[in-house]
Symmetry: D3
Subunit: 252 residues, 6 copies
């Protein structure tokens, strides 16, 4: 089975630099895939992408060595399994609040006996190879998002679920949950403390910690802290930022 290069990076205690695909276009994704990311995550939650389009984005990413991941819209078995069958090598699931939800996430992503994932890796076995069924459980990376107060209260329970590879901090929702305005790159002590707690617990449980960032400076700080999956930028943001700057320069 094709190796999951993220797992090799993590084995070497290196951080994966992750890009984000929110534009429903396989061409946009292919451009992204050629820029040197370790992985690209197709965002089916807040991105403008659903399953059928996401498959074409997975194909576009598969023209390169970049690892294809997805964020699913919600903890729903149907879409989780469909995206894995389509060849996602990593899954990020939003708003996991407790151990029971984490267990349901893992169950949807792992074949028996570890979980209850249904068998049918129709594109995954093209991308991963004919021996995908035998190695998928240890190859596919599964992340639970920690972004609610309940999740903070249940970190041990969440992280104790066998088969979970990591947790992923959503700073906007976490901030909202704690009474702050949404946004990335938080400096508020209460939020920094919460983020640090997630990281510390992840290390304790031997899990990978990931986080969403708004600037490369902050993302690099997160790597220095110990985060090993750092997301920075998205196709949608690059378009908006590049266009806004260009127009501003022309109007100056």
């Amino acid at each position: 089975m094709r190796e999951n290069l993220l797992k090799r990076l993590w084995a070497e205690d290196k951080a994966a630099v992750n890009g984000w695909c929110a534009v429903p276009s396989s061409f946009a994704a292919e451009i992204m895939a050629h820029q040197g990311w370790d992985s690209l995550t197709i965002d089916l939650q807040h991105g403008v992408v659903d399953y059928q389009t996401a498959v074409t984005l997975l194909q576009a990413i598969s023209t390169t060595a970049t690892v294809p991941m997805v964020r699913v819209p919600w903890l729903e078995p149907g879409i989780l399994m469909k995206m894995l069958d389509a060849g996602a090598y990593g899954v990020i699931c939003p708003m996991i609040n407790d151990g029971e939800e984490a267990a349901r996430l893992v169950s949807a992503c792992r074949y028996p006996p570890l979980g209850g994932r249904s068998f049918g890796p129709i594109r995954a076995s093209l991308y991963g190879g004919a021996d995908y069924p035998a190695h998928a459980n240890e190859t596919v990376a599964v992340f639970a998002m920690v972004e609610t107060r309940r999740a903070l209260d249940n970190l041990d329970a969440i992280m104790s679920v066998e088969g979970l590879d990591g947790v992923y901090v959503g700073p906007s929702d976490l901030a909202s949950a704690l009474g702050y305005a949404p946004g990335f790159d938080r400096q508020e002590p209460e939020l920094v403390e919460a983020i640090d707690l997630v990281l510390a617990k992840a290390k304790e449980h031997g899990l990978v910690a990931g986080i969403h960032n708004g600037s490369t400076a902050y993302a690099r700080q997160m790597i220095d802290k110990g985060f090993r999956l750092v997301t920075i930028g998205s196709d949608a943001r690059f378009i908006a930022a590049g266009a806004a700057q260009t127009v501003a320069e022309m109007r100056a």
Copy 2:
């Protein structure tokens, strides 16, 4: 009929700042449309867009006041008329070489008696208004690309065609045609001279001159020279540039 804001700019001798849509996604186009461009051109020639997708991009642009234009793949009446019926307020046609080709271009874009455009403005009359048929001929902007040696030799013939609004310089193809490597923002004397000639002839014929640029600095120089439709940047380039820079910063 909805006014073509580009024509107002030109009446005031102001330059239109034009963006470029090459990504086949109406969401990408909508992001672009919110960044303050005077106009956006959907590129059906070198962009990854064909008719059916282009209609959704026109709709996305139509959620704002940005003027929607298209570049067609070639001087073919079918696609020219389809894009106008879909509500394009401007058309750029590649590789017009002589007066006869310019006349065919204009004929495809103008209703009788000026041309031979077939009647059926199915979306154009939604976007432009019920009186679109009466005003389309003077509202829609038609540009012939000047980018070949034959075009340089036939500038007067091309620009004498009644119903043509302007000419648009494609620096890459023009450079190729004259024996240089393709690329924007040319400084070679022979190319600068050719570009200046097109501009001078356009002024002489009372036409708008446009040009494709690779940097805002060059684009602003072109405005200073007298170009009144300056293109700079594209959604595809913004993704590539933004992602490449982000990854570089993370790897630094």
Copy 3:
């Protein structure tokens, strides 16, 4: 943030005339949007539309001042949040049976602290404006469909949920639930009584009452009664009715 014109109508105790989009075509939706409706609802439940297509319909509606709404397929957080992120200014959710379901609906549609909606208004902030996050909770209209016997038994509980804007009567399902054949414009005393009860309770709770109708005559009666969101007609029905009548006239 862009105002929700429906809320202004309701503040003035005026009824909103709502059209219905069931055809998966942004062009069909754009035609609809130009006919003067106060709002258009994209039907992801019984219409032939899913998320990816619905986004293009939202864009098409956004070319006009018509307020874009959606009916989701079911009380599922994934699709509810995706449609809000895509810029829906109103949501109608089918088959809300009790207060707990109503609470889950509201939670999916409202940011903290009112609910648990995840943050990422990717297209909503283009359509609504950069301050969408601050005003979304009071701008977006959320309707629970009342169309089952259990819902009739739990009207107070449903309507007491903070953050719910209104209830929407589905006469076909309500009729089925009470043992009648499905269909609109009910005259049976038991059904009229049920509908009147919903309306009275809505007024009591300070909520907007909405209803689906089969004829303009009935819809106007509903407005006279006090309904303030009246749906009448759909793109699919207009095609079928117009074509059937035309063929009939030709065969006569």
Copy 4:
């Protein structure tokens, strides 16, 4: 091979009632196909439809006995042959001006020795049957649009081309060409005379005459005159008209 029911109607000197599909949605087309038309024409010229979408419309129509036709965007061999391969049983080609253009149209639509159509009826042989190649030339109906002054001047040359089944009057373009505002259901003597001339010539040449209409009343007059392919209405118009009338009734 599946019979072309239009040809049977014409053999019995009956008129075919033809509907028009301009909305790029196979569901809209399927609704249309269930309303009793003799044939439906997918409009790739002024409709919002291109090839890939048109194939799904052909499939939708093929769920019924309604005969599927197309109007192509222009006299271009590529799209003509692609639509025939996709199973169109009739083709209407715009703006045929003289015998040479009519000959090119027929050549693109007929297999050797009658024409130069390339062989590969990939969907046509599913729809028409395995013996499609042997019978296509006499089964598929080919119409040249007569809508320009040059066409009026060349009626005999156009109609003398072997393999042409009929001519189809486009009243809007014909009116434009003769100096009138575009529109259907013309009453101006000069236009009526031109239309009558086309009809008379068609009868003389043993061809079917068709015409586009704006009302059933006019369409029925055209049948009485002798037209045997009368188009009336379109999915796009039914949506617009139905919605406009509904909103008007609600606002009254």
Copy 5:
């Protein structure tokens, strides 16, 4: 209402030969539909198909007499009802584990009073006929997949649910659940015994038993045993197998 030909076959104790559509292309489905299957099942679980595409596949199948079925991704009411509204004449739902899940499945598929399916058969009434609402409950076939250990333990509870037409064995998942490698055409005694038990229970409860197969030889054995819905082959497998064999012959 259009008859469900599968139900006629089963009334005559004949087996239905069922094909499988996993490729998201209405053209691929139309090719399949012309090859003589009794039914075709569009796989929204492991196939590369979601709702919007599935509708076009249903249309493609509807050009023939082949019965259109779907396998849904999961026991989720939203997609179950959407597929039925789109005209599926049969539904297969994965991973039904007990009577309560079977009851939820049936409820989503049956109109009151038998279930809680919401009313709006938008395409189903085109395909099935205007009297679809009156006959859908007895016409549409509903299958629960038996493929987990829990399901084996709850066969009577599952099969006792009124309104269920049959059970469908997924041999791969069943094998996984019992500790074997996934795959079709099982010969292991424990698996054969489990399969036989499902079949025996189905006969006892008067239900149709179905099964997925990997070879025609095994499928025919299953028919001989008493299975009445046997699936064999898929468009995706035919492409892979045909291409692999062709390349092998060329390389030999």
Copy 6:
């Protein structure tokens, strides 16, 4: 620039085994691409594929080392250049009849000074590399189809055009043109003689000869004769053949 592996095969006097994609699905293409073909040709002429879909097929093929080619619908510059910009590494153009047509084909495919291809390799430079512009002219393979009587009469003129890589025999059209029924794998002496003549002339001009085949046996004979691009099978045929055989086995 990424090497064109076909050119390496031809340099070693080896034949390329070419598959054919006629199904408009990137997933179908990806399945094909994993079966070991030297190249895959996306058929935009008789296949059910147009530009926008073809791009996704190119992406799917690009996930493997298989060389992506296209057959365009017709000798039209717009689509030729768009497909090259999209990354096709080979082009087959139907119905080239004489040297002038061959010259137009080559001109559309080659950058100056060899031809007049317009510059903008938007996806080609992702797939081929940043130095695509410098090497495209010698990397991209251009084939003219020889399949008409006029082409047979003009073989020397066609093959003398500088920049043409090869000729490709379309046996069905060639047979039609010479008065035979269409079909592959011709044995008629007149047709064999014509095919042999094309091959001999190609060798004489130093060009690659290609041919479409209906069976591996015939294709291998063609290789033995000297053809170096042999097409055999297509996704559409594999589906039809596999399904037909499976159903036949079940009915036996």
